[in-house]
């Protein structure tokens, strides 16, 4: 893939990521301002489908990075993949079957993945967290992607995890009515 196409792809994913994050922040703000009932009515049962969409886009985006663009995932990237990939399947099954219990499987993955993403992002911002030198093979502190000066792959992954967690929280509330 040409560098121009990679740049386009990076920018596209970064913008999707920022839009999703803004929407999640808006949802939380709406929940605080308008109350639980209004928040439930806003999304209804669609929260689980939206959460699955985020997981599916994140999973396919990650696979395109490694299998098409040939970025080599680092150690922390693999941990985040372990958390994200199952959600693309689990959330789809949960959405089709309309099972509220899916939250017990997906939320721990989303929250755990978010924590790993935050740590990974911090190692990129503060490389000294990973030590004083770079692993010549594949250091986690190295940025393959840097859009707008702050959006990197762990940033996008972390956004995905957080958005999924927020949507699942809304889904749970809706179905507990």
């Amino acid at each position: 893939m040409s560098p121009q196409n990679v740049d386009f792809y990076n920018t596209l994913l970064a913008m999707l990521s920022l839009a999703a994050l803004a929407a999640a922040v808006g949802l939380v703000g709406y929940r605080i301002a308008a109350g639980a009932e209004a928040a439930r009515n806003l999304l209804g049962g669609s929260a689980i489908w939206l959460a699955w969409t985020v997981a599916a886009v994140a999973t396919s985006g990650s696979l395109i990075y490694s299998e098409v663009i040939h970025f080599v995932p680092c150690r922390l990237c693999w941990f985040q993949r372990i958390a994200m990939y199952p959600m693309a399947v689990v959330l789809l099954v949960g959405a089709i079957r309309r099972e509220v219990v899916v939250k017990y499987y997906a939320l721990p993955l989303a929250l755990g993945g978010a924590l790993i993403s935050i740590w990974h992002y911090l190692t990129q911002v503060f490389p000294s967290l990973e030590g004083g030198s770079c692993d010549p093979v594949n250091p986690c502190s190295s940025k393959y992607v840097d859009v707008f000066g702050f959006v990197s792959i762990p940033f996008m992954a972390g956004t995905g995890f957080i958005v999924i967690a927020v949507l699942l929280a809304f889904y749970v509330r809706t179905n507990n009515e």
Partner: protein, 203 residues
């Protein structure tokens, strides 16, 4: 939100993702000459074992290999037993520690801190077109880098022969090309002063 809206949103996002993925997969490949980050090198002599920062370095006193290579302007540089002590700095363009260390080293050199009887060499290695800050020559020129540069080859022959285990990586050699010290990681001004003092004392 009704089902139709939900399916429209989900379908739209997934469809967009698939279209983008497909477009990217079949997009016209533009030839990118990634060889501009590499040059052929020639190394003779026994390679040094991999550097282990947690243990005493067994290579101290051993003769380092002789390395011959060129920079991006094809200016040839040789690291060999030439009677002068030297500090050899190995750099990776994508390494955040190297990116932080290079301006420090250049300012240190510009400040006249490199002893007259010590030479500073650099080797760009682990070059990867897919990683940021590529190619290394653009980065080093932007930093005003003045030390002679050997661009390592695709398989990192020079770095491997000096036992590099992380970047930045420093090897201090005496005039007979024997190892005085190897250091990995950012060392800053104090570290540079210490390496220079050791090199100068051995000259």
């Amino acid at each position: 939100m009704n089902k139709k809206t939900i399916y429209s949103i989900v379908g739209g996002v997934v469809g967009l993702g698939l279209i983008v993925a497909l477009a990217l997969s079949i997009a016209n490949e533009q030839e990118v000459d990634d060889s501009i980050g590499f040059r052929p090198v020639e190394v003779t002599g026994a390679p040094l074992p991999l550097f282990d920062p947690t243990a005493a370095d067994p290579t101290v006193g051993l003769e380092a290999p002789t390395a011959v290579g060129t920079d991006w302007n094809d200016v040839e540089t040789t690291i060999q037993a030439d009677g002068r002590s030297k500090i050899v700095m190995f750099l990776a363009h994508w390494c955040s520690h190297c990116q932080a260390e290079v301006p420090v080293v250049q300012a240190w050199v510009d400040g006249g801190n490199l002893p007259d009887n010590v030479d500073l060499y650099s080797v760009t290695t682990s070059t990867d077109r897919l990683r940021p800050n590529w190619p290394p020559q653009d980065w080093l020129e932007e930093e005003g880098w003045t030390a002679p540069v050997i661009m390592d080859d695709q398989i990192g022959t020079v770095a491997g022969s000096f036992g590099m285990s992380g970047t930045p990586f420093y090897v201090v050699l005496d005039g007979e090309n024997r190892v005085i010290r190897r250091v990995s990681g950012e060392i800053g001004i104090a570290g540079l002063d210490a390496l220079a003092a050791e090199a100068a004392a051995a000259s």
